[in-house]
Amino acid sequence: MSLPSRANRVTLLAGTIGLALAVTACGSTEPKPSASGGGSTSAECAAFDKYGKHDGKTVSIYSPIRDAEADLFQEAWKPFAKCTGMKITYEGTGEFEAQIQVRADGGNPPDIAFFPQPGLLERFAKAGKLKPASAEVKKLAEEGWSPDWAKYSTVDGTFYGAPLGASVKSFVWYSPKMFKEKGWTVPTTWDELMTLSGTIAGAGVKPWCAGIESGDATGWPATDWIEDILLREIGPEGYDEWVSHKLAFNDPKVVAAVDKVGAILKNDKFVNGGYGPVKSIASTAFQEGGVPITQGKCALHRQASFYANFWPEGTKVAEDGDVFAFYLPGNDPSKKPVLGAGEFVAAFTDRPEVQAVQAYLASAEFPNTRMKLGTYVSARKGVDTANAQNPIDKLSIEMLQDPDTVFRFDGSDLMPAAVGAGTFWKGMTDWINGKDTKTVLDYIEASWPKS
């Protein structure tokens, strides 16, 4: 009898201490925001009235975006935080995938996380860790994004969060200057692209350069290649089937698509401009894969829109500049499926201030503010391309906003991690290193989780 009562007393004592701590914590933070928030209910804050007042509340955000990009995010939502009176703490990490799991399991999840992989979001949603998005966020997402996007954060019919940023992967970088000098033109079909590659090779320059080395994620740029071509070869519906494993990884259709990529990446006449033979692709860092274009040693480099940040300093990224990108063409120029990626804003808690942040991030105001500060691409409708900081962002946004565009998410981010972040990467690296297509695809197929 004495044991529980003693334990109770301890709990009570500990509870009192905790309460005292909580009270002092509130006492110290509360006056500051209300003082500043009260003073500035002027015109600049009028736009944020609809999000309500959340004086003294804190919302924590956890995300894989860090460094300079993270600074711009924090700067972009500063007026929102100030006007609503809340404090937003931001934490960017390079180990997002592992850390978010540890924090959620340890009972210490952030309020909001930016998920770069819909597959990961789905796992947390199925485990019951995520809170469904509020009706308002859902409404904003429905009016802002095409259904292609919304479905990636919908799990078993429940919508968990709106998309945030986006990147377009279906780009081929080239040098407009070089093209003009040599009289080459931007191809609009796959056949034209291959003819152009032949012409360039004939001129004594290896047309393509690539790099797939990326630490423990080595191989991912090659998987993007495969996905892009597959999307063109078997169409968006076929692509969805492949991603969800209704179409086997070693299906003849997939083999054909991979061989089509191989006609470029495994052709010693076509690669690896500026670096060496085919195998040098595997040892070249993806950040440096396209750099030979600026030295005239290579003409074409397939990489996402974010590659704009990787060019050496002083490189002008524009349609009439040193480098620019064109859409990776398919067989039929009238169909333009776009492969891309992005983040999704999902919440672990459903406090009003957390939902207010989600709603703000889902509105058209946020991407517009963010774009004015620096390079950023959002697929949201209502984003003004005039705010884009560089021509490649503008081109990406136009492509994403085009109602005829069929958007598909990077497949390796949707597959089970064992494949999408494992054997697919490894398989493609082996493939570059000389293994044949069928062996590699059989290996990836065999690694697909059985359950």
């Binding site: 529980p4 334990a7 109770n8 301890v10 709990t11 500990a14 509870g15 201490i17 905790g18 701590l21 909580a22 914590a25 804190t58 894989p64 975006i65 860090r66 460094d67 300079a68 990009e69 993270a70 600074d71 703490t89 931001y90 934490e91 960017g92 990490t93 390079g94 180990e95 850390q99 540890v102 924090r103 399991d105 340890g106 009972g107 210490n108 990326s214 630490g215 950040q287 440096e288 750099v291 974010f306 940040n309 990787f310 050496p312 300093e313």
Partner: protein, 316 residues
């Protein structure tokens, strides 16, 4: 008879190290040692050279091109240490965080394991051996296994059969340093107790007995007798623990988080290359900044380090 074997054993014990010493001081051995030292230092030297080269040079050529095309700049250090935008390093403020994390994380386990080691070595009580074996066995448990339970201990407290025994700590902001200290102390104790216990147990029992007869309490014995004698062991463990905590990324990442308020330099270093690794030239100078303090500590204390390592292994 016994004295004879003892002397024989002793002469052998003396000659064996002498033989080893003689062999190791030969010219050939010295040459080999120098070659090994050069091989081991080359990458570090390359990193140092890289950190002093301009960004476009780092990214396009290897450090050895420096000898044919010498270009030096302190720009990387400037950016990493004193950059004004929050993206460019600001290592100075994270350096402070690292120090704030490291000092208590070294002193706490040092103090606790000294007390524990003394008790386990010189206080006769029942179950002493079992406790010692238990502590020793705990070294086998990998740190990674304890991360999630410890995190939930901090955030939700302890609940036994639905009864809240301990509340969650609810630490926010800079109070989260406490979590890191706590975690590092927990993880350090098994090795600390083991190391210092072995050293203390070697001390002659007569010394303790004499002190007891003279009326010294355990507190006095520990303070006046044992502590001066186990100095090298404490220094060894202190340096071990210092280097481990200073270089730790995992524990800090989980318990301190990645915000500028509490994150140590290692966490900052990991973020500094940018989301897609396009600013990796900063890592060269960042790595050197983070290495300066451990280097200074090691060089100034290496005397103890070597002595402590040897002292535990050779008897007499």
């Amino acid at each position: 008879m016994t004295t004879l074997t003892e002397t024989v054993a002793r002469t052998r014990a003396v000659t064996a190290p002498q033989r080893v010493r003689r062999r190791l001081t030969s010219r050939v051995a010295s040459a080999v040692a120098i070659v090994i030292a050069v091989l081991w230092t080359t990458p570090t030297f390359g990193l140092l050279l890289s950190s002093l080269r301009p960004e476009d040079q780092i990214k396009s050529t290897g450090w050895w091109t420096f000898f044919s095309d010498p270009q030096l700049t302190l720009e990387n250090y400037q950016e990493v240490l004193f950059g004004t935008s929050s993206s460019s390093g600001q290592m100075m403020s994270f350096l402070i965080n690292s120090i704030v994390i490291t000092i208590p994380s070294v002193l706490l386990p040092l103090a606790l394991s000294t007390f524990a080691a003394y008790a386990l070595a010189w206080l006769p009580f029942r179950g002493r051996e079992w406790i010692y074996i238990g502590v020793f066995a705990l070294q086998i448990v990998p740190l990674q296994m304890a991360l999630v339970p410890l995190l939930s201990f901090f955030s939700q407290g302890v609940e036994v059969f639905g009864l809240q025994v301990l509340p969650g700590w609810e630490l926010e902001g800079s109070a989260r340093f406490v979590q890191v200290w706590f975690a590092h102390t927990c993880f350090a104790l098994p090795l600390g107790i083991f190391l210092i216990h072995n050293f203390m147990a070697e001390l002659p029992g007569d010394l303790m007995e004499a002190a007891r007869v003279d009326g010294a309490t355990h507190g006095t014995i520990l303070r006046k007798l044992v502590l001066p004698l186990v100095g090298p062991a404490l220094a060894t463990f202190g340096i071990f623990q210092f280097l481990w905590v200073w270089n730790d990324l995992l524990v800090a990442l989980i318990f301190a988080g990645g915000t500028a308020e509490t994150a140590p330099m290692t966490v900052r270093l990991a973020q500094m290359a940018g989301t897609k690794g396009n600013e990796w030239q900063r890592l060269t100078s960042g790595a050197f900044v983070s290495v300066v303090i451990p280097l200074a500590v090691f060089l100034s204390m290496q005397r103890y380090f070597v002595r402590g390592l040897l002292a535990g292994s050779v008897k007499g």
